[in-house]
């Protein structure tokens, strides 16, 4: 009955392991410090005046605050983050949005720009029309507006740059790989736009004309996309996956460099 099949092998990617001094790595239950002068941050817990790690990762210290950042985890939202999400449910004056967080985020009807753009009261008609604006399965870009006491996030799309996303591809990466920058919307010179959501969802789409897009964000553009654009999007998609695989940070320059480096490989049917 006993078969000698072993799936687990230790494959260390040697080329990536550099010899430079690694950060302070801890595993759950490990004592970070017995000094009571420090403050307890994320990924740690206090017991008997000692600070223990509760997750496996690198210790980060900001003044007196000690955090442990896990290599991989669900998205922990912060106010002002740009996120990409998928509508899960249409509810009473709100949408539930999956943003790879520990709870579904909430997008209130009052936190969206309605078509037409003008500021007006949300009527009952709007409530009835909610599914016409955003239906289950739609993908949106939004910003984190607030964090509820239980950790759930509230989103808003009250800016022309946010709203429904129509044609493009979505890539999931670990949220920790998205570098926090001033802007997460990039129109890359290669002819595609990329939105790097802080929640680890990356949206890649062909660049469209500034004038026609961003009109409130509920009109879906379903015009056919040219083959050249598709190829660029697909190549970017693979670049993001490749970077994530090697745990490189994602931001416009790193993606662009990868894109350029990949140009020497052509699309092949095999």
């Amino acid at each position: 009955m006993a078969l000698e099949i072993h799936l687990a092998t230790s494959r260390v990617q040697k080329d990536l392991v550099s010899n430079e001094d690694p950060k302070h790595i801890v595993t759950p239950g490990e004592v970070i410090t017995a000094d009571s002068g420090f403050m307890r941050g994320h990924g740690t817990y206090m017991e008997d005046d000692k600070l223990y790690a509760s997750v496996a990762g690198c210790v980060e210290r900001v003044n007196k605050l000690i955090c442990v950042k896990p290599v991989k985890s669900r998205y922990n939202g912060e106010v002002g983050d740009v996120v990409i999400g998928r509508i899960l449910q249409v509810g009473q004056r709100r949408w539930k949005v999956d943003i790879h967080s520990r709870q579904d985020a909430i997008l209130m009807l009052s936190a969206v720009n309605l078509p037409g753009g003008e500021l007006r009261r949300r009527s009952e008609e709007d409530e009835r029309m909610m599914r016409d604006y955003l239906a289950e399965g739609d993908i949106i870009s939004a910003e984190v507006q607030a964090i509820f006491s239980d950790g759930a996030l509230s989103l808003h799309t009250r800016s022309l740059k946010y709203g429904k996303l129509s044609q493009g591809t979505l890539v999931h990466v670990a949220p920790s790989l998205v570098k926090r920058r001033k802007t997460h919307f990039h129109n890359l010179p290669c002819g595609a736009s990329i939105i790097l959501g802080n929640n680890g969802y990356v949206w890649i789409c062909p660049t469209v004309n500034e004038d026609t897009d961003h009109t409130g964000g509920f009109i879906e553009n379903t015009e056919p996309v040219s083959l050249a654009d598709r190829e660029v999007v697909a190549r970017l998609h693979n670049c993001v996956i490749a970077l994530a695989q090697h745990r490189m940070m994602l931001y416009d320059t790193s993606i662009l460099y990868t894109f350029e480096a990949s140009l020497k490989y052509q699309v092949s049917s095999a």
Partner: protein, 248 residues
């Protein structure tokens, strides 16, 4: 089975181990892309896969009964139909699997810092691919690795090990042959740093006076397993975080 001695005169066990030796443990973290955390572990010939999803919003009917100020832990233990010598009819849902599911849930309820995730649910799926004794132990160890991989905060690792008592000798980490021959069987889960017991189960007859010795060797087994797991986790972290650190 008759006439087979589980412990030879020279003090070796049926698979050639000494009484206080573990089987070979190999493990690997992050085996699935889709799951938030996943791990694969082998205890000798017992092979187990674990996947963790979450924390995420409470889903399904089970979660409705959950207390809302802490995370709800949902476990599923299943044994592949080909995992045992005789083909299994039902991979899950039979009494023993249900019990195992319940035990896994209780084990991790005590170790995960559930109060950090109100209104959330954490799913732990465990699949036994090959069963050669110590299924619970391998499942717990695999699930621990998967939870660490998913970045879910825990008090400590949870390590599980079994033990038995044959010919006045306590045995560590028993295999299927040793398990199935009417010997006492003790299963222990501990938090290795504090040596707190999270879960204890014992079957078959064992005299009260021997319990302490058997408990000791099981706890020793758990802490041995902890060192193996910890090394694997650290290696995994190095692999994952060094490129990251050079970049930030």
């Amino acid at each position: 089975m008759a006439g087979m001695e589980l412990l030879s005169d020279e003090g070796f066990r049926i698979d050639g181990r000494r009484p206080n030796e573990l089987r070979r443990i190999q493990c690997r973290m992050g085996v699935f892309a889709q799951a938030d955390g996943s791990a694969y572990i082998e205890h000798g010939n017992t092979k187990v896969l674990a996947a963790v999803y979450g924390p995420h919003d409470i889903q399904g009917s089970k979660g409705r009964a959950a207390v809302h100020d802490i995370a709800f832990i949902n476990c599923q233990y299943s044994m592949a139909t080909f995992s045992t010598g005789e083909r299994k009819q039902r991979p899950r849902g039979d009494r023993k699997s249900q019990e195992m599911t319940h035990h896994l849930k209780q084990t991790f309820d005590g170790a995960i810092l559930t109060h950090l995730y109100p209104h959330s649910q954490i799913d732990i799926y465990v699949e036994v691919l090959q069963s050669d004794g110590g299924n619970y132990c391998a499942s717990v160890n695999a699930a621990t690795l998967a939870l660490i991989d998913a970045g879910i905060p825990m008090k400590d690792y949870v390590c599980a090990c079994s033990a038995s008592f044959i010919d006045e000798t306590p045995l560590m980490d028993i295999n299927y042959t040793e398990e199935s021959s009417a010997t006492p069987q003790l299963i222990v889960s501990i938090l290795p740093k504090s040596e707190h017991l999270v879960f204890v189960e014992m079957n078959s007859r064992l005299h009260e006076d021997q319990l302490s010795r058997v408990l000791d060797i099981a706890v020793k087994g758990c802490s041995d397993i902890y060192h193996i797991l910890d090394r694997a986790v650290k290696e995994h972290l190095m692999e994952a975080s060094i490129p990251l650190s050079s970049d930030t």
